[in-house]
Symmetry: C2
Subunit: 242 residues, 2 copies
């Protein structure tokens, strides 16, 4: 059975203007590989309602899972929950379970539970809450779409809440071999090896170190024994590595 | 006249498996903001021909410019040039001008100009070459699509070759104000200010420092005087900042 597939949707003007360097997609990509869920696409869009709705529809329709990051805070530009609700044709409003979590959190901290904070209890009908052990305001899953915060520490905590509950597949295993040979000098033989081992993915990543050209060769697959065979074949073909 | 719009397409399995943290989109996002070109979407896809063709068609059709990164090297998984050619309905083959650039580069370095290196001279018919001062192998522009290398140093050099030739708009100007107030405590007033200054974009980005909640407020726009007015309004509304 093939592994389930996934897409990630990152939402936020601050990424597109270059202010913030996105890191949540990179983090989740590594976690998905370990869980045996094949990440097929990452998309970054701004804080625009219609754009988010269209992206959620397309990406949730085309993959087994969609994970979103950003836009579920308390301010005027946090519009993700409403856009996801529209994409799934669900009503949205303040939900009692989410409100109770926030009320308890703020009461324990003598913090005012104001209208802006109440906004974070807006959850689409039928969604399951995603626990936020950092700052209480929950994410949610609706259909195959998992909606999480953009703040990296909270995002990672929510990923830890969601991922164990999803059916994964075989984890991706990789091995690499670093050779001080320019990529183009090993391209022909590498292509032959890749053709002979179609169940593996062979990638080559050139680099320059101390003025000399080198290449990182990476073999990936879901069968550890086959990945080891692939690595052995690379080492035999390009013995100049380290 | 509104600023021109752009999308970025990043191509490479190594990003989706979590092996490599993408940085080219962040770099180009900053350059586009300075050039007055509005970045609307970033998309990351794997080394899959049909996926790249579809993404190039959609993103080049929906924006004034499309910039791509990755997949134009010498190995079997470098399939971007062929996919872009197909997306634009152009023939592709080894082009004499690109071949000559590579031949001169390798001759000067006593490096064999082998079949894999010749692959990097495959350029779609009608495309304009993008100079690569780092390692010679050129990128290219076809229609509104600018195809560049994934290696960060080469990508940045190609951006420097391409960007000055494009018509930009008004550069995006931003100013920020850091307050040690939780985001939700200023959300209501911030929303009012945002509503009163619709020509500006106001963003708020919560953080935690030494266990205390704070918020970075960012005001963005193309008119420096208005951005200064926005900043002054934020400082007056939230004087607890620094």
């Amino acid at each position: 059975m093939p592994n389930p597939t996934a897409a990630i949707l990152i939402i936020g003007d601050e990424i597109l203007t270059g202010r913030t360097r996105e890191g949540n997609a990179h983090y989740l990509a590594g976690e998905l590989a370990k869980a045996g869920i094949d990440l097929r696409e990452v998309r970054i869009v701004g804080d625009v309602h219609a754009t988010i709705v269209a992206a959620v529809r397309e990406l949730s329709g085309g993959h087994d899972h969609l994970f979103t990051s950003g836009g579920i805070g308390s301010t005027h530009d946090d519009i993700t929950a409403d856009a996801v609700a529209e994409a799934f044709g669900a009503e949205i409003g303040v939900r009692e379970d989410a409100r109770a979590i926030l009320a308890a959190h703020y009461a324990a901290r003598n913090t005012e539970f104001n209208a802006a904070r109440l906004r974070m209890a807006r959850i689409p009908e039928g969604a399951r809450l995603i626990e936020n052990p950092v700052s209480a305001a929950p994410g949610f899953s609706i259909g195959n779409c998992h909606v999480m915060a953009g703040v990296p520490g909270i995002f990672q905590a929510m990923v830890a809440s969601v991922l164990p509950g999803l059916s994964g597949g075989l984890p991706l295993v990789s091995a690499s071999w670093r050779v001080m040979v320019p990529e183009a000098s090993l391209a022909a033989e590498l292509g032959q090896i890749a053709g002979a081992m179609p169940d593996l993915s062979l990638g080559s990543y050139p680099f320059v170190a101390d003025g000399a050209y080198g290449t990182n060769l990476v073999v990936r697959g879901t069968d550890p024994a086959r990945v080891a065979e692939g690595l052995a074949r690379l080492r035999a073909a390009f013995p100049e590595g380290d």
